[in-house]
Amino acid sequence: MIEFQQISKKWPDGTLALADVNVRIPKGQFCVILGPSGAGKSTLLRTVNGLTQTTNGQISIEGVTLTPASAKTLRRRVAMIHQHFNLTLRMSVAANVLAGLLPVVSTGRAILGWFEPAHRAKACALLARVGLDSKHLLRRAGELSGGQQQRVGVARAFMLDPEVVLADEPVASLDPKISREILSLIRDAARERNATVLCSLHQVDLAREFGDRIVGMRDGKIVFDGTPEEFTDERVEALYHGAQWEDQPAVETEDLYNDALQPQLVAA
């Protein structure tokens, strides 16, 4: 369970990325966060493991409040899957997956690369689980395709059997088929462990398909919170285009495009 209580985040440059966010995500739920670029989705996810410090408010994970002191132990229970996979590309697939265990492996053993047989077996099992053949085990991660790299990222995330999985646009750069596969992997692996998933996406169809619940964000605020069934097409329109209609008359944008931009684009 993740609980956000009156979370706000103001960047030093004055941007208010999160404005009084209150949500509670029960254990085991697959919660998708949608919203236009700059809505604060990444910021929200990153507050959960303390990568971003909140300006205000309180976050608790499974009843434990996140503080600088508790962050270190809490982080071990919170996995993260990244948009750009964030693998060490010059390192082997196996090493990248085992790196998911670093918080619980002693520094000496980590430096020497001595991982217990049980750990190595787990890495192999997880790689098999995400559909990567064992022949890739000792290949460089950089040699893999994007989809394969994200499989490694998912395997790494589940090495410590997390209670919370944060996925920040995990399929943003993958084709629709692979995207479904990766999201299914995340959903199923999380279900097996009864882990809570907080996943930001840009694809509404995927959000409806995989989310138990959809949270819509705009300008740092939650503007929609409900089931996929409740997230109708009108809601989608409102989420992505709502403010633009309010802020600027649509005609003006069109004029700008037709008269000034188009010839320049073609000429360039």
Binding site: T88, L102, T107, G153
Partner: protein, 341 residues
Amino acid sequence: MDIKPIPVPAQGTTLGWQLDQPYRAKHLLWLLLVLAVLLFTGHRTEMDKMVVLTGQAVGNLVGLNDESQVVRGLSRVGQSMWPPAFGTEEEVARLTNLDRNNLPFLATIETHEKVEQHLNIDTLQMEESREKVELLVKPLGYVWTVFIKMLETIEIAIWGTLFSVVLSIPLAWYAARNYSYNKFTYTLARGTISLLRSMPELIVALFLVLAYGFGPIAGVLALGLHAAGFLGKFYAEDIENADKKPQEALEAIGAGKVKTLWYGVMPQVVPQYIAYTLYILDRNVRMATVIGLVGAGGIGQELKGRFDMFQYDHVATILIAIFIVVFLLDQFSARLRAKLI
């Protein structure tokens, strides 16, 4: 389908603009200023004299000019350098424990007649006295000496490199902004690096010879200290510039700084580190031949001794040896680099 051509120029666009020109009137002014400064410093660094002297030398060589200071100086040194000294001769009488039946490799004993002139005090006439002297001749004796000295030089370079690598690892850790503990350790490490880099090996060696005496210790330390500054700086900058994404992934799960560095940064930077270290080894070998000039061991010490005794044929042998070593080193490091990166 009907494709309408795009109207050029499009309505409402103007052509009253240009790309930035690369030069303007003020650049000409700058050019004149730079030329003036160059003329001034050129005179101070005697570049005008250099041109005259070199011109004379060229004229002398093509036969237009019969007097050239440069050619005279060079040919005098050149003549005394040629042929390079390869062998050694020692008076047998001075060698206390020479086994005549078991001479060193390639060595022979030759008998020379030594003619000495001296004044007879009674007759007040110059008299010649002839004396037979036995010499132990080693045809490659000096080559061997140079070889041993060169080996010592390379050893100094290797130890200096080792020393610098060991020293620069903690330096790099503290000098990397994103891994240093705080601003103080960062500034301290950066300061140390600048200090080390600002001290030329030759000067450091000069002082270390005073502290540790003549010999390789001063050489190793001088090379190591300077190179540690270089390596510390470059190692640290590679850590700072490494791709942040894998580091963030490890930081997110709370892996800790050392483990994050090892798994998120090191694999990225190791090829560059090897290249830097090879460069330092290369540089240290070349520097190790020089620091002997101030008594810090190696071939330079031999070079200085021979130079001071005007034995330019020996100097020639040493210079040839240095060239061969540097050439081989270039080949070696190019090959190693290609293999490792």
